[in-house]
């Protein structure tokens, strides 16, 4: 049942030009950054060759690419998640799901998986770019995999936050703006930590970015993974509760 809902979501996305435009823009932008980093590497190469224990092509090209991709995707995800519930509410198609024998949890999970599947497709486009380097050299597959895992978890959090915000409103644009604001706030929350104020540590810990960076460096810490999983599941639970509240007494 969850997969039926997810498939419908994914299908509807590809039936509008939105999905194709987003995929094109993402791969175009990331390709540009990829070339930029390759160029940078070529400039640095003579110096790197001389230095002992110098960073390899994975550090100079792949890691920055994933880091940039995260920022670009932060801008794009709200556009993907904004319609999830709000659009159904606005066009009153939600009652189709509500009067069908499916639970609220199934609806939310279906929606989440639908948009997440699309996001994975986007990430696949970004992730195969560095693999082209294998033609002319070697890359650190461990670092690549850990960076990609970070990106996947990060994007799943983006999606779940976006989904929750979308359950709060009837207007997709409102959902998009609110999601964007929230994501950006969570993203830069660690800046408060870097100023050294009291309590900055907590804020820094809550930041999406501060759990992504270790993974980019190849540090696989279960705390980071659990942070993301907790964030995702809380947003999903909140979404189910919010959707359920539609039927209840206000």
């Amino acid at each position: 049942m969850i997969f039926t809902l997810a498939a419908r979501e994914l299908r509807s996305m590809f039936l509008s030009p939105m999905a194709w435009v987003i995929l094109a823009v993402i791969s175009g932008l990331c390709a540009y950054f990829f070339l930029l980093y390759i160029d940078l590497y070529l400039q640095l190469q003579p110096r790197l060759a001389a230095a002992p224990n110098a960073p390899g092509i994975t550090d100079v090209i792949v890691v920055p690419l994933f880091s940039t991709a995260a920022t670009v995707l932060l801008l794009v995800t709200p556009l993907l998640t904004m319609r999830l519930i709000s659009e159904e509410r606005r066009s009153q198609t939600l009652s189709l799901l509500m009067s069908a024998p499916v639970s609220m949890t199934e609806i939310i999970l279906g929606k989440f998986l639908g948009v997440f599947a699309f996001v994975l497709l986007m990430l696949a486009l970004v992730a195969v770019m560095p693999l082209s380097l294998l033609a002319g050299g070697e890359i650190d597959m461990g670092l690549w995999a850990s960076g990609l895992l970070g990106l996947v978890l990060l994007l799943a959090s983006f999606c779940s936050i976006g989904l929750y915000v979308s359950t709060l409103t009837t207007q997709p644009t409102v959902a998009a703006v609110a999601t964007f604001g929230l994501l950006l706030l969570l993203w830069v929350l660690n800046l408060a930590g870097s100023t050294g104020n009291e309590g900055g540590g907590v804020l820094s810990y809550l930041s999406l970015l501060s759990h992504y960076q270790p993974l980019l460096k190849g540090i696989f810490s279960s705390a980071d993974i659990i942070y993301y999983l907790l964030l995702i599941s809380s947003c999903l639970v909140l979404s189910v509760r919010r959707l359920d509240a539609d039927r209840l007494q206000h």
């Binding site: 049942m1 039926t4 066009s91 939600l94 189709l96 509500m98 009067s99 024998p101």
Partner: protein, 322 residues
């Protein structure tokens, strides 16, 4: 018509804030019955229907669908319901076939039966030719039919239709009414409307709801009886002598409507029509028309829904005076 009750609603109440939208509603619908839900705008028709279909939870009260409480076992109860809301819930970017397939899956129709179910639903709603077309490109009437097809695809015991003929042309309305009558062979149907002839054309039973309360619940026969009044209308070519008419047994009063037409009030237990016709011929008035006066459904409806209001207003006025 069998006697098993498919929908049972007990003490159903729903508040929006402090405002009661539906108050203390009780009714039952048997298998094979078409129940018409009538009421002015904002009377609580849609709210009731949304509660029956699990889109809205009641403030208190119980709803049982086919013996299953919808609050205790929502999934099981919802499997027996097909719902067409006021605005058909269509994904406009899908084709009719894709959409119905999604609905079939959503209602857990097993894979091998899906094609059959979709085919039957399409055939019944006259959609066989438009399966490959995008819903967005269909006319309003066809979209409405897709909405109905969606509601009956899993052959639920109960079909709930909220204003199914709004925005359709007269031919489509007739087709839809025909479809509703056909549905009632196997399903129970609840339909809401504010078009009164529709109730006469399609329903077995009528409920009139006003300001969230049930003000009338009657069979169609009962309703037709209510429409009969004790007066006749007589139209003739030549001048009538009222006194001759008054002399007929059972006639209470004769009032002139225009120069060749009179209204004759009679005692409810008698029908002087035959005598009037006879006298008209004998007197050489040349009969043009002799018909029983009927109150239209509209009049009954207005009577019932406004009578309540005036009582309320009176209470308010006396309350204000005190």
């Amino acid at each position: 018509m069998t006697n098993d009750i498919l929908i049972k609603v007990e003490e159903l109440t729903r508040y929006y804030g402090a405002q009661p939208a539906v108050e203390d509603l009780n009714f039952e619908v048997r298998r094979g019955e078409v129940l018409g839900f009538l009421g002015p705008n904002g009377a609580g028709k849609s709210t009731t229907m949304r509660m029956i279909t699990g889109n809205l939870s009641p403030s208190h009260g119980r709803i049982t669908i086919n013996g299953i409480d919808i609050l205790d076992q929502p999934k099981k109860a919802k499997a027996d319901i097909g719902f067409l809301p006021e605005l058909p819930p269509l994904y406009r970017e899908l084709t009719v076939d894709e959409y119905l397939q999604f609905c079939a899956r959503l209602n857990r129709i097993s894979r091998d039966k899906q094609t059959n179910a979709i085919g039957t639903a399409k055939e019944r709603c006259g959609l066989s030719d438009v399966g490959k077309r995008l819903i967005a490109n269909l006319s309003k009437g066809y979209q409405q039919r897709v909405g109905i097809a969606q509601a009956i695809i899993h052959s639920p015991a109960v079909v709930v239709l909220d204003e199914p003929t709004v925005g359709l042309d007269p031919i489509q309305i007739r087709e839809i009414r025909h479809l509703i009558r056909e549905l009632s062979n196997e399903h129970s149907v609840i339909l809401s409307t504010h078009i009164l002839p529709e109730v006469q054309a399609t329903c077995d039973r009528v409920q009139i709801i006003n300001q969230g309360r049930l003000v009338l619940s009657d069979s169609i026969e009962g309703l037709i009886q209510r429409m009969q009044t004790s007066s006749l209308r007589l139209r003739t070519k030549n001048q009538i002598n009222n006194n001759i008419l008054l002399a007929i047994e059972g006639v209470v009063a004769v009032s002139v409507i225009d120069e060749d037409c009179v209204q004759i009030k009679h005692k409810p237990e008698t029908n002087p029509a035959a005598a009037i016709a006879k006298i008209t011929v004998e007197q050489g008035w040349e009969l043009l028309e002799l018909t029983p006066d009927r109150r239209s459904l509209e009049e009954i409806f207005v009577d019932i829904t406004t009578a309540e209001q005036t009582v309320d207003e009176q209470i308010e006025k006396t309350g204000a005076a005190a």
